[in-house]
């Protein structure tokens, strides 16, 4: 009787980083080539920053316990006992968990779904998928979508920068017409700027005390450069301010913001102060149309969102259990020469 198995190394295993790094460099076609040499003609290689996994189906007639040696051969280093091997229902359950984002570093993240899809499509293109893997992967992708849509596992942003960028949208809607000014040129400033760019912010400007570092970041991000002395004047025209300098004292004072608001004819100003100690005088939040969020506020929202995601994990697990059972029964019956029909076609819109 045939088997469906998965072997791999993931971020869940301590000390697997270097082997994973080496495996990530191995091209999938090479893996398929070597699997074929072993007589395995149905396999999908899933290789991301956090995991390297091979899913395969075979008829279990060949050599046993070859997996570890195979991975070591691919990686070129010993992996000890850092790999995980799962077969049958456990393998089905694992595939579903991965697709649903429950096995990810950040619960419910969506990138993995695209990566599973990409890996499956590449395997399909390489002629490495048959009926079993086609059905399993298509079902897993569908379950991944459903879990994210129907449960809260991927609801809410969970990093400070992404929470801030999302809040900007609750104030301005699409950011394509918005102008963001970044104060500071450090790593945090850059990260926040990139999140705003990810949400298609219309214009981006950088102001930094040390002009040279500001210019560097501005050219990296394709942003305009604003003279540090001109910040007050610039406030009149921008919608979003990200303050992330290492200054020990406020770089934006209440009076400065108030003065700028007088010239803004009621347009909202969103100030994101992610500096520690804070860069913006706290009382500025009291000014009409000014929304000042500090690092603590954003962290609080991110934490609450993460807690909400974790609460939703149980719901997603229930879905996974149900689907695992259904798929496993289908798979076992198929091996016994009988085809069961599955509920809910993934082809459904």
């Amino acid at each position: 009787m045939g088997r469906f198995c998965v072997v791999g190394l993931s971020h869940k295993r301590q000390g697997s980083e270097s082997a994973r790094g080496r495996l990530a460099a191995v091209a999938a076609p090479d893996v398929y080539e070597r699997l074929r040499e072993r007589g395995i003609c149905e396999a999908v290689v899933l290789s991301t920053c956090n995991r390297f996994e091979i899913y395969w189906c075979d008829d279990a007639s060949g050599e046993q316990d070859w997996e570890r040696g195979f991975l070591e051969e691919l990686a070129g280093v010993p992996i000890g006992e850092r790999h995980d091997l799962r077969c049958d229902a456990a393998a089905v359950g694992h595939l579903l968990e991965v697709a649903c984002g429950l096995d990810s570093l950040v619960v419910g993240e969506s990138e993995i779904l695209g990566q599973v899809k990409g890996a499956y499509e590449a395997a399909q293109a390489a002629g490495m998928t048959g009926k079993r893997l086609n059905v399993l992967f298509q079902r897993a992708l569908y379950a991944g979508k459903r879990a994210r849509r129907e449960t809260g596992i991927s609801a809410g942003q969970i990093s400070v920068a992404s929470v801030a960028a999302q809040l900007a949208e609750t104030i301005f809607g699409s950011l394509s017409g918005s102008h963001a000014l970044i104060l500071g040129a450090g790593a945090t400033a850059e990260l926040a700027a990139r999140h705003l760019l990810g949400r298609k912010v219309g214009r981006l400007s950088i102001a930094n005390r040390t002009l040279e570092r500001g210019r560097e970041l501005a050219s990296r991000l394709g942003a305009a450069l604003v003279d540090w002395e001109q910040i007050s004047a610039a406030l009149e025209g921008v919608d979003i301010v990200v303050a992330s300098t290492s200054a020990g004292e406020p770089v934006l004072r209440h009076a400065q913001v108030e003065e700028a608001m007088r010239r803004r004819s009621g347009r909202s100003l969103f100030i994101i102060d992610i500096a520690m100690p804070p860069n913006v005088e706290e009382t500025a939040h009291r000014i009409e149309h000014v929304y000042l969020y500090r690092l603590l506020d954003l962290q609080g929202i991110a934490d609450a969102n993460l807690r909400a995601r974790q609460k939703a994990v149980e719901q997603a697990q229930a879905l996974i259990r149900e689907k695992t059972e259904e798929l496993w029964r289908w798979l076992a019956a198929l091996e016994a020469g009988q085809e069961l029909s599955l509920k809910h076609s993934p082809a459904r819109p």
Binding site: R149, A155, G156, Q166, L167, E169, T170, I171, F172, G173, R264, S265, G266, R267, S268, H285, E288, H289, Y291, Y293, D297, G300, I301
Partner: protein
């Protein structure tokens, strides 16, 4: 129960259902709720139109009412008003895909039809001679269309206040991410008022012309006239402050809400004061 009443009660039931779904949609990610809200609303509108048609047909059975719109009674007016509110909502929804606003707008349509069914007398009577004019097909309808648009703007304003509060509190809930942004709501509130204001103004001027034809004077400081003027002045103030002083957001909404309070009073309260415009006094 007459066919007219059966139909309008069915419409009311569907409006109540649509409103309940709209409120549920505020707190749920389920897109189906919004879809079904629109469907129930659509069915409600069909029943409502049916009831309207039947009423119009019966109204025309009275010879002197022929070809006049049956908007002379409280019942007819409320019914038309609710219909205009849903029509405006459909247009806004179509333009902006903002099903989420249903929770803030549809209660007005439900209240309109609900009070027609519960409080107003559906009895049909012959129009008094003063109202037997083609103006009755224009003047009240234009004004009530403006009122319905203002009701929509009011709903958008409430949504803006909720959203502003959410973001100012620094503890936004799920609702914050589901509502349109502050700027979008602000713009929408403004757009609706900009569109409604000329309608209101034209309606008032038409009333003046009708008054001149019927009573020989353009303006007589009748309570309805006075309050309609006050309403227009408040909204004119809103537009002025927005254009000239850049008044936006929360405070702008307060002004527009004052305007809507004035609309409600002009429509309801004034009936007890006005000699010439009382639905309740029956003098038309």
């Amino acid at each position: 129960m007459t066919i007219q009443m059966v139909l309008i009660k069915l419409a009311l039931a569907f409006y109540v259902g649509a409103t309940a779904l709209a409120v549920a949609f505020l707190f749920s990610r389920e897109e189906k709720l919004s879809l079904w809200m629109l469907r129930l609303l659509g069915i409600g509108v069909l029943f409502h139109l049916g009831s309207f048609g039947v009423r119009q047909y019966l109204f025309w059975q009275i010879p002197e009412n022929r070809w006049f719109f049956s908007i002379n009674s409280f019942f007819g007016a409320l019914s038309y008003l609710a219909l205009a509110v849903t029509a405006t909502f459909f247009i806004v929804e179509r333009e902006h895909r903002l099903g989420i606003l249903g929770a803030f707008v549809l209660p007005w349509a439900t209240i309109g039809v609900g009070s027609a069914v519960i409080f107003a007398d559906p009895k049909l009577e012959g129009l008094v001679p003063a109202l037997q004019s083609y103006w009755i097909n224009i003047h009240p309808i234009v004004l009530m269309t403006a009122y319905a648009m203002f009701a929509n703007a009011f709903g958008v304003g409430v949504a803006l206040l909720v959203q502003e509060h959410q973001i100012k509190s620094r503890k936004p809930t799920e609702l914050c991410y589901r509502l349109p942004s502050i700027e979008e709501l602000d713009t929408l509130n403004y757009k609706i008022i900009v569109a409604a204001f000329p309608v209101l103004t034209v309606g008032i001027i038409m009333g003046g012309i009708w008054a001149y034809n019927a009573w020989g004077r353009f303006w007589g400081w009748d309570a309805k006239e006075t309050w309609a003027l006050i309403t227009a002045l408040i909204y004119a103030g809103y537009l002025h402050m927005r254009f000239v002083k850049g008044l936006r957001g929360r405070k702008a909404v307060y002004v527009s809400m004052l305007g809507f309070a004035s609309v409600v009073f002009t429509f309801l309260g004034v009936n007890y004061l006005s000699q010439l415009h009382g639905y309740l006094s029956g003098r038309g």
